[in-house]
Amino acid sequence: MRPSTLVCSATLATAVTLTLTSCGPPVAPPTRELVTLNGDAYSRGLQHGQQLSAKIKGFYTTLLTASLFPYLGREQPDIATLLTEYGNDRYKNGRFAYELLLDSAKSLERSIPLSAREEMRGIADGSGLTYDEVLILNTFVDSTLAVRGIALAIRLSRAPVLERVEVVEAGSDGADNDGDGMTDEAGEGVLDPYNPTRGATFVELPASFTLKLRVRDSDGVDPALVRLQLGAEPLEATKTELAADLLEVSANVTAPAASTLLVMLGAGDKKVLPNPPPDHASFMRDTELLFTTRGAGLTADQVSWPVLSDGRTRPPSIALSLQGPATAGGAPLIAQHFALLDANTSYKHTAVFVHEPDKGRPFAYVGWAGVAWGFAGMNASGVGYACNSSDTLDNSVVGAVFDQVADLSKAKLVAKGTPIGFAMRRVLETATDAAQAATITRGFEHAYGWSCLLGDAAGGQRAVEVDSDVFKEGSMGFYEYGTAERLSSNGDGDLVIASDYTKNVNDIVRLTVAGQKIVPQREWAGTFFRSRRAASHLLRDVKAAYGQLDRASVQAIISNPEVVDMSDSMNAVVLDLKNRKLWSAHGQVPATKGPFIETEVPAP
């Protein structure tokens, strides 16, 4: 409602020669709010719910009821054929997705700290949503990502697989192309089977070479659906059916000496699937092969992934931790551009929440109406974090299926553990430095895979990667590193992450269960190659300004279109840990289309 309208009407009634200037266009309500919450956990939740009641209902309805629920609902028939529990009445009549997510929410609730549960009760009481709805709103990210990961892996198991890569000239070019210390040994230039890696596939290739790729699919690979690109440009290729289920794609590749080149392969099979609609073939994940030509002088791990601007790829979430030698004056900064799920609605419901608890230190995070956490935040001690999803099959829903595999008639897709947002809430509430933040993170069982950066005002910085440790591999699903490991750093002051694992690269053992392959992230996750390119781009940007990086330049780096998902960008944040200032851009898509606005975290 616009108060001015009645005034306008009154003016109209009394003045023939009215001026129109007083009756301007309606003013848009803010799409981002600053919400300060005081008191105990329930009181803060209640204030949150009351202040953002309309937005909470709107966010829940437009994102979940009218978007995600029906989207997940499409999977019910397929899932119910395997997990017959989902054929029961409770999951019928359009309630499948709600009940599925509620099952997980109730399971996850057990691992959510009591104070956070009280806060969610406050949100429910203040907003008018039910507690169950608020619980779903606060847990659906982890549980949906886990279910989506399984669905994606299943889908890819039906799709063509790149199983062999050959560079014909590599066996006789007088160079060590595979980094094994030998030159032109037998089999050099052939990868069979091919497994994606974080670095280059081959290095120091001739400036012109023949590339042969073999793609297999039990339904046959459709030559018409094969797409080969050199960078963003289509690459002319010859397609030869070696067998009913095997296609060889050959191409001559030419590139300048001492250059990096990216070859991208996409392929679909011959079987058209009607479900889920629309009709479609099964497509393999676009697979990217990174090469260098003679003179580049880089090992496979040293090669930086180039930008790919083919209009088909979108950058994933990215984050930076900078301090000491990386920044001007050594100021510790954490920055993030998070992208996942806007759906034309998330941006309308954003908020910076500042908590001033009756016990403990104040803290702030960037989040959404009705949600008690964010993907980035900091506390009054100057401890900050930024977390990006990192798709993995080592997640709690996969674990639940394994736990129930003896009787699939009763098995359900249920997440367990603590959603990352609540783990980070505990970091904000209790951590006094980055090391302690890492310890706190280690203490949780995690519902899904995440890559996070942790930092503090004194310059402490850690990268942590988590998964659900389904097979109890001894790591407790926790992997930590810093700049010293040089896993994703230019020097001693920078850590760069995207939406993949840097240390936990073998996130799950490779095995086959009931015909379904369980494989590491790099072999199936849609964000893997995108992450490689985005992280490389960021590392180059950071290197170019090393030692001079400040808030403004970091904001510019994470606003660069090369690392911005124009459709699903959700928030961009820079945390000035020393000065307890949080700069956030959100409330529009992409988030960086608007300005970064400062919020100061109150002193302890």
Binding site: L12, C23, P25, A54, K57, T65, L68, Y71, G94, P278
Partner: protein
């Protein structure tokens, strides 16, 4: 009796030429007209001509932009309008206006702009891809064409017009002055909230006349012949149209779950204060052909009296300026309200109308015919919809006692 009354459906009820005309005491007026109003555009805050609805961006959860649904809907209202008038005194006339919507046809003219590349499909969504996807989530593809409002009443209007007596000062100025007060009765219907291709028939949905209208009209005849019939008449009218706030039911998504699920956050009900209008109009009547005048029953067998009757051919040109206050929406969601209010902000519209009138009173037939066309897109408006209307009507006058 010169010319008779007309309450236009699609003009804000003022500003017809000869708005000062009243019926002689105990005289009835019966007017049937057919109106066809076409609507396919609106004007925004910057007076840009746009389709009636904004493009709809559709996203796949986590999959980016599927594409943009473009729509250039065109709505055509076909209406039968019955007007009844009765001269209570020589200066006071009662009016009843009964608009019946014969049907409303809506052509969606949907289009599609592909969005992000979808790795799972190996292509961006086509329009057919999108609707197949949507159907799998319970959202049917809207029809390209729909007909609704078959034989439905719009809001009826009752009113009174009082014409000032020819006081000496008015005669000195050569002016005729009348005031009109009209009330709309809530006989129209609001559109079905669950449907996409629908249109309502209340005064607010037709955007043509207010719930209460007050007008002050002045005529200035020029080049009047010895029988009191002018060659030219200049008219002016000022009016105020009040719209009452009204309650609507929010869509629950029972038919269109993806596109029309609003009630959970908008609330089961919402309210609109449409905003009132201030109207001004200027008209000119040209009487190029008076025609023969014969002594008939209409003239009481009196040729001289027949020559006082309306000319056989007249042309009326009208310009109507309507200043609209912004609409105000109340719901539980300010964001949702804003998305509506921004399309209905304070604005204006300009209507030009030309009408040819044929009168047969002078030759003994108590019948008049008229045909007219009114355009609202000759001059860009602001925050309004631009309906163009063709009208054709017959008018009879009778006195029974």
């Amino acid at each position: 009796m010169k010319r008779l009354l007309l309450v236009s459906l699609l003009v804000a009820s003022g500003a017809q030429a000869a708005e000062t005309v009243v019926l002689p005491q105990s005289t009835f007026l019966l007017d049937f007209s057919y109106l066809q109003s076409s609507l396919d555009a609106r004007y925004d805050q910057d007076r840009q001509k746009l389709p009636l609805i904004d493009p709809i961006l559709r996203y796949e959860p986590g999959g980016g932009l599927q594409g943009t649904i473009g729509a250039r809907p065109e709505a055509v209202f076909r209406m039968l309008v019955l007007q009844l008038g009765y001269g209570i005194t020589d200066n006071l006339t009662a009016l009843v206006f009964v608009p019946i919507v014969l049907n409303t046809s809506i052509t969606a003219n949907l289009s599609w702009q592909p969005g992000d590349y979808q790795p799972s499909l190996g292509r961006p969504y086509s329009q057919d891809d999108f609707w197949a996807w949507a159907r799998s989530m319970g959202q049917p593809r809207p029809p390209d064409y729909a007909e609704t409002n078959k034989g439905v009443l719009a809001d009826m209007v009752v009113g009174m017009r009082y014409k000032l007596k020819p006081y000496a000062w008015l005669q000195r100025l050569g002016l005729q002055v009348a005031g009109t007060l009209a009330f709309a009765l809530p006989t129209g219907k609001s559109p079905d909230p669950e449907e996409l291709l629908v249109a309502g028939t209340t005064s607010w949905e037709l955007h043509s006349y207010g719930d209460i209208e007050a007008h002050l009209s002045v005529d200035r005849p020029l080049f009047v012949d010895e029988y009191g019939v002018p060659r030219i008449n200049l008219g002016a009218d000022v009016g105020y149209s009040f719209f009452r706030p009204r309650e609507y039911t929010a869509a629950r998504g029972t038919v269109n779950p993806l596109l029309l699920t609003q009630a959970p956050y908008v609330g089961e009900k919402y309210w609109i204060d449409p905003g009132d209008w201030f109207t001004t109009a200027f008209s000119i009547d040209l009487n190029p052909f008076f025609g023969p005048a014969e002594a008939t029953i209409v003239s009481g067998k009196n040729v001289e009296r027949a020559k006082t009757l309306p000319p056989m051919v007249s042309i009326t040109l009208t310009y109507n300026y309507i200043l609209t206050a912004g609409s105000n929406w109340w719901s539980q969601s300010p964001l949702w309200e804003y998305d509506r209010e921004k399309m209905w902000g304070q604005g204006d519209k300009h209507a030009f109308k030309a009408q040819l009138n044929l009168s047969f009173l002078r030759v003994g037939l108590p019948l008049q015919m008229y045909i007219g066309y009114r355009a609202q897109d000759l001059f860009h408006g602001k925050n309004t919809r631009a309906a163009n209307t063709f009208s054709f009507g017959l008018r009879m006058v009778a006195k029974f006692w």
